[in-house]
């Protein structure tokens, strides 16, 4: 066991896989020599060579296309898009070409690719560095979508993602990169894709969250506890495929739920989660499932970011609406 922050855990996952599987290659803008703008790949080129870890020209679509072509040739590409807002340049290659490869070829070809990208608010970043675009990926058949919330999960999920034979959109929250350290096992272990985790048990209401919002929800749960409300908090970890069974099991116990996300209200994962709860657990609900999410504006200017993102207080308020329905 070692104490690692999330960025170190992510690097460790790539290191473990580079060592284990010679078909793993890592590339993107500034990921090679320098080791990435967040040092997620620091030292990997020195250890594994320029044929395994390399810098690319500044062109996101070609990063995506390179990954698809290398996947066809039997490689296992881990491609980095430097910031989430730049995925639009690469959407065709990621969300069309990679996501459809298995289907279009009737299984003859596949795209065993991980697209890593940082995202997430609260760090006063420049425009288009932080938008929560997971909803776009969730609506793309053929992709898997992962948003880890802590170092242990990040490493285990990234190893699972690299070993997965279908394309994975792996979103790393900027605000969690160095937020805290956790015990992370050395060497290889996996966290299963598609499995949520109950991170705090409770009986009165279920708070469903992912990414940074897991931590915001846990703070809200502490506040609620002071008033005698026991909130159960679920960390989804994977958004596609969604672990609806864990959600339903929790609602069967609590009969009430909210979904917290930092994507705008109409974007993100919340609407799909609520639709599935309606289909599978409506008779267990004492109140409608509400969303705690930012307004449907463009991602805010840095100076007003903290008011825009969900806070523990806003989550508490939303939970109280559900409890008092």
């Amino acid at each position: 066991m070692a104490q690692m922050n999330m960025i170190e855990a992510i690097k460790d996952a790539m290191r473990v896989e580079l060592k284990r599987d010679p078909s793993v290659v890592i590339f993107g803008e500034d990921v090679g020599h320098v080791g990435g703008v967040f040092r997620a790949t620091e030292g990997l080129q020195a250890e594994f060579g320029e044929n395994r870890v390399f810098d690319t020209p500044l062109a996101e679509s070609a990063i995506g296309g390179m990954a698809v072509g290398l996947g066809i040739q039997g490689f296992r590409p881990v491609a980095e898009i430097q910031f989430v807002g730049f995925i639009f340049e690469a959407l065709d290659q990621m969300f069309v070409q990679a996501a459809r490869m298995r289907y279009r070829s009737g299984g003859r070809y596949n795209a065993p690719i991980v697209f890593r990208t940082p995202f997430g608010g609260g760090v006063k970043a420049a425009e288009l560095h932080t938008d929560a675009l997971e909803g776009l990926a969730m609506q793309t058949p053929g992709l898997k979508v992962i948003v880890p919330s802590n170092p242990y999960d990040a490493k285990g999920l990234l190893i699972s993602a690299i070993r997965d034979n279908d394309p994975v959109f792996f979103m790393e929250h900027l605000n969690l990169y160095r937020a805290f350290r956790d015990e992370v096992p050395e060497g290889e272990y996996t966290v299963p894709i598609g499995k949520a985790k109950v991170v705090r048990e409770g009986t009165d209401v279920t708070i469903i969250a992912y990414g940074l919002m897991v931590h915001t929800a846990l703070k809200a749960a502490d506040e609620l506890e002071k008033n005698g409300v026991k909130a159960e908090v679920i960390d989804l970890r994977t958004l596609m495929p969604l672990d609806i069974d864990t959600i339903v099991a929790s609602i069967q116990k609590t009969n009430r739920a909210i979904v917290v996300q930092e994507a705008q209200k109409s974007a993100g994962a919340a609407a799909e989660i609520i639709a599935q709860i309606n289909e599978k657990a409506i008779l267990h609900l004492e109140a409608p499932v509400l969303r705690c999410a930012p307004p449907d504006t463009v991602y805010p200017f840095a100076q007003i970011e903290d008011q825009w993102l969900p806070t523990p207080a806003r989550i508490v308020k939303k939970v109280n609406e559900v409890l008092q329905f």
């Binding site: 020209p57 062109a59 296309g65 390179m66 072509g69 070409q97 058949p141 279908d166």
Partner: protein
């Protein structure tokens, strides 16, 4: 001084397309003649006549509703057949949507090409060992796939080449430039073949770019640029062979612009009379790559009208056999589609099967 400008980079040299045969089928550039045996020359002619016959039949099958999406190829046999013939079966072909002949001659069974046209998943199930991708609908995307595949060859140290095709319109796409530029930066074993037939649906070349030629665009990426008379199959073979040789030996990528023409409209739902003149069509008709190469072979005593007639009959029979096989292919099911999305079908998709 008025009218003067500061020093600037200009690349305005005129380009003369590489040409080996005159329109009359005479050798005008013997030095460049590719080394081909008589049997190989006849095989190239066989494939061109076969492809023309297949195209004729495909248009009719489309009208009868027995084929679906189909992009005609007549006129482009020189660029299509010639460029594929210049490679080995180990090389990898990333086609655009019109480039069905290249992947069929590279090994995709004809009935699967028909299934692709009809919108059946088995059309994309490329047989093991056939190094091609499915036709690409997103213009430019295939250019990046070839780039990545070429990177794979380079990383594995394999002496193989990836070739990809687009049209003149495709050279305006960002992915076109990105692919060439990556090939320049990584010195990749790739060939980017632009079949410039003068039109992107209704839009003429002059409205795509101010560049004097598409071959010039290689300069922006630091790779070789070649323009070739695409109606001269021998010139196409020579250009692609040389580009492949250079690529295999670590010399990097080549952009080849083949000047060609499609005798038919862009697609079966396009009316070319709205944007092309009869005179223009007639002029290009005189440059027909099959007639030109046929004259050359006849002058060498290697081909005759009877040979053409024989190949046409063989091709018709093959088309009939393969369209039947396509029509008899088992129908797809929604469950089958669902199971082809991921290696392991996730729970939500398993549950969605119940609705079908």
């Amino acid at each position: 001084m008025p009218g003067q400008t500061l020093p600037h980079v200009v690349h305005s040299e005129d380009v003369t397309p590489l040409r080996i045969l005159s329109p009359e089928g005479e050798v005008i550039n013997a030095d460049l003649m590719p080394d081909l045996t008589d049997e190989q020359l006849k095989e190239v002619m066989y494939r061109m006549v076969f492809t023309r016959t297949w195209d004729d039949r495909a248009v009719n099958l489309g009208r009868q509703g027995r084929l679906g999406f189909y992009a005609p190829v007549s006129g482009q046999e020189g660029t299509m057949v010639g460029s594929e013939y210049a490679l080995t079966k180990d090389d990898f072909v990333c086609p655009g949507y019109r480039d069905m002949p290249q992947i069929v001659w590279h090994g995709l069974p004809l009935y699967q090409a028909f299934l692709y046209s009809r919108g059946h998943q088995h059309g994309g199930q490329i047989p093991e060992g056939v190094n091609v991708l499915m036709p690409q609908i997103i213009i430019g995307a295939q250019i990046l796939h070839a780039t990545g595949i070429a990177m794979g060859f380079k990383l594995k140290g394999e002496k193989r080449v990836a070739i990809t095709y687009t049209g003149d319109g495709g050279s305006s796409e960002g992915d076109f430039y990105e692919g060439l530029n990556y090939a320049g930066a990584f010195k990749l074993p790739a060939i980017y073949f632009v079949q410039n037939n003068g039109y992107a649906i209704t839009t003429p070349y002059a409205k795509q770019t101010g560049a004097q030629s598409i071959a010039h665009k290689a300069l922006a990426a630091g790779i070789r640029g070649v323009q070739v008379d695409g109606m001269d199959v021998l010139a196409v073979i020579a250009a692609v062979r040389e580009a492949a040789e250079i690529a295999r030996n670590g010399g990097g990528a080549t952009l080849i612009e083949g000047l060609t023409y499609r005798f038919r409209p862009h697609s079966m739902s396009d009316d070319a009379t709205k944007y092309r003149t009869k005179d223009e069509e007639a002029e290009w008709g005189l440059k027909d790559p099959i007639i030109r190469f046929g004259k050359y072979l006849e002058s060498k005593g290697l081909w005759s009208e009877e040979d053409t007639a024989r190949v046409r009959e063989e091709a018709k029979a093959a088309v009939n056999e393969h369209i039947k096989k396509a029509e008899q292919t088992e129908k797809m099911t929604i469950h089958g589609l669902i199971d082809s999305m991921y290696e392991n079908t996730p729970q939500h998709l398993e549950e969605q099967k119940a609705d079908f």
